[in-house]
């Protein structure tokens, strides 16, 4: 097994424990949780977690001066990165959650409120199966594998960036991809075996 240097970006939001637990459970030893420039720059792969409100997540990233470092590592040096939940939404151009807020703008698209028929509850909470088309994320997963979702906003982007979607009244973007940049709306760290397979696929692809 490869043992890449994995860094979970710690910017004060998000449940880094659960992500770290899942990755360690797979046997990866070279894992750090950090917001330090040196550590981020040395990583082979980055994980950008995130829970809560988009604006708070984005401003925390900015306050810790991480955005510029990430732009260099991810956009210029093409370091693989996986955003999770709000961490995935941050990859977008902007979010419409409580006002309009700029994101990292790595994948063109907007984060919008789920507008669904009244019989479908929002937030979208629970285990939903996903249709995927991206080996680097889902290579070890079966088609229709289910993952745990918990969100009211979704990433609206061009079809070519959609790595997976789920059917919840509308096609909800479940994962995005663009070159070395990946994101998942669901929580692989809370999705038991299917989530572990996703992490494994991602690290195998590095």
């Amino acid at each position: 097994m490869k043992d890449p240097g994995i860094v979970i970006i710690d910017y004060g939001v998000g449940n880094t424990y659960s992500v770290a637990n899942a990755i360690q459970h797979l046997g990866y030893k070279n894992l750090r949780i950090s917001d330090e420039e040196k550590v981020i720059r040395e990583a082979d792969a980055l994980i950008l977690p995130g829970v809560g409100a988009f604006e708070a997540c984005m401003s925390n990233l900015q306050d810790r001066n991480i955005v510029e470092i990430l732009n260099e590592e991810v956009l210029s040096k093409k370091k693989p990165i996986l955003g999770i939940c709000v961490g995935m939404q941050l990859l977008a151009t902007a979010s419409e959650e409580m006002g309009i807020h700029e994101g990292l703008n790595w994948i063109e698209g907007r984060v919008k409120k789920l507008e669904l028929p009244s019989e479908l509850a929002v937030p979208h909470v629970g285990w939903n199966d996903v249709m995927n088309n991206e080996e680097k994320l889902f290579g070890l997963n079966q088609q229709n594998a289910n993952f745990y979702f918990d969100h009211s906003f979704y990433f609206d982007c061009e079809e070519k960036y959609v790595a997976a979607y789920c059917d919840y009244g509308i096609k909800v973007t479940a994962a995005v991809k663009k070159e070395n940049i990946f994101g998942v709306q669901f929580h692989p760290e809370k999705s038991q075996t299917n989530g572990l397979k996703l992490f494994r696929s991602f690290f195998n692809s590095i």
Binding site: Y17, N21, V86, A121, V122, N128, K190
Partner: protein, 252 residues
């Protein structure tokens, strides 16, 4: 397709899992972390941990327990019990909780719901309501673990809380809780029908058929139960197989 959730609930007192009948007569049901991990392996879709210990040390002990749970459990879990501030929630989330549930404190200070939703997002805020059907046929809100009656209708409070930002309703019928006679289908269906958020039905699940009823007639998004799982009366795996046979979408 989104599947219906089966959620074992672990009431925690002094670090142990306990379970009462109609909110009384508490019995010991084992170590919460072990039990939670077992349920996760058996296919529980989520877990709820409710701290019913009432001591000054509670918050510190609870955050330590949550930390331990998060290291052993790979499904989402909600933590509730005595949460009354943004700081309380912050500590629990930092220790690995995915969602928190608020009850009495939110009723006494509804602005808390809005604060929590703004700070952590609605998807993280579960409003727990203990409710009882009175002789007039209406369901009323009860506080403090069912000990204090209010004159507020359950439907009114649930609507207000959702408008303030609650992302899910955990509805416990005190009439049904611990009876194993089935869930309160009428109030569950009423809330599920009129609220935009998911409704978790709780109280009364005793047979596998009751779970079918709560998902069909009760229109619940999720069903929560405790003693039938703790005392191994129904296995989570067999329950899900049964629901699947009855054409209810569940994760297996």
């Amino acid at each position: 397709m989104l599947t219906k959730r089966i959620i074992p609930c672990l009431d925690i007192k002094d670090g142990r899992t306990v379970k009462g009948i109609n909110f009384e007569n508490i019995r010991d049901a084992g170590d919460p972390v072990e039990l939670g991990a077992l349920y996760a392996r058996e296919g529980a879709d989520e877990l709820v941990f409710l701290d019913i210990t009432a001591t000054v040390e509670r918050r510190k002990t609870l955050s330590e327990l949550v930390n331990k749970i998060s290291h052993h459990i790979n499904v989402p879990f909600t933590v509730g019990g005595g949460i009354s501030s943004v700081d309380d929630v912050s500590v629990l989330l930092q220790n690995g909780a995915d969602k928190i549930s608020v009850n009495t404190a939110a009723f006494k200070n509804p602005a808390l719901i809005a604060q929590l939703a703004k700070e952590f997002g609605s998807q993280c805020v579960v409003l727990a309501i203990d409710t009882k059907k009175e002789e007039d046929g209406e369901w009323y809100v009860y506080l403090n673990g069912g000990r204090v009656k209010t004159t507020t209708r359950c439907r009114d409070w649930a609507r207000q809380a959702v408008d303030l930002g609650a992302g899910e309703i955990l509805l416990t019928s005190m009439n049904n809780d611990g009876t194993k006679q089935g869930f309160a289908l009428d109030i569950t269906a009423a809330l599920a029908g009129e609220l935009p958020v998911p409704v978790i039905a709780s109280g009364g699940g005793g047979t596998m058929e009751h779970f079918v009823d709560v998902f069909t007639e009760g229109k619940a998004d999720a069903a929560l139960a405790a003693s039938i799982f703790h005392f191994k009366e129904i296995g989570i795996g067999e329950l899900k197989d049964y629901l699947w046979e009855k054409q209810i979408a569940v994760r297996r």
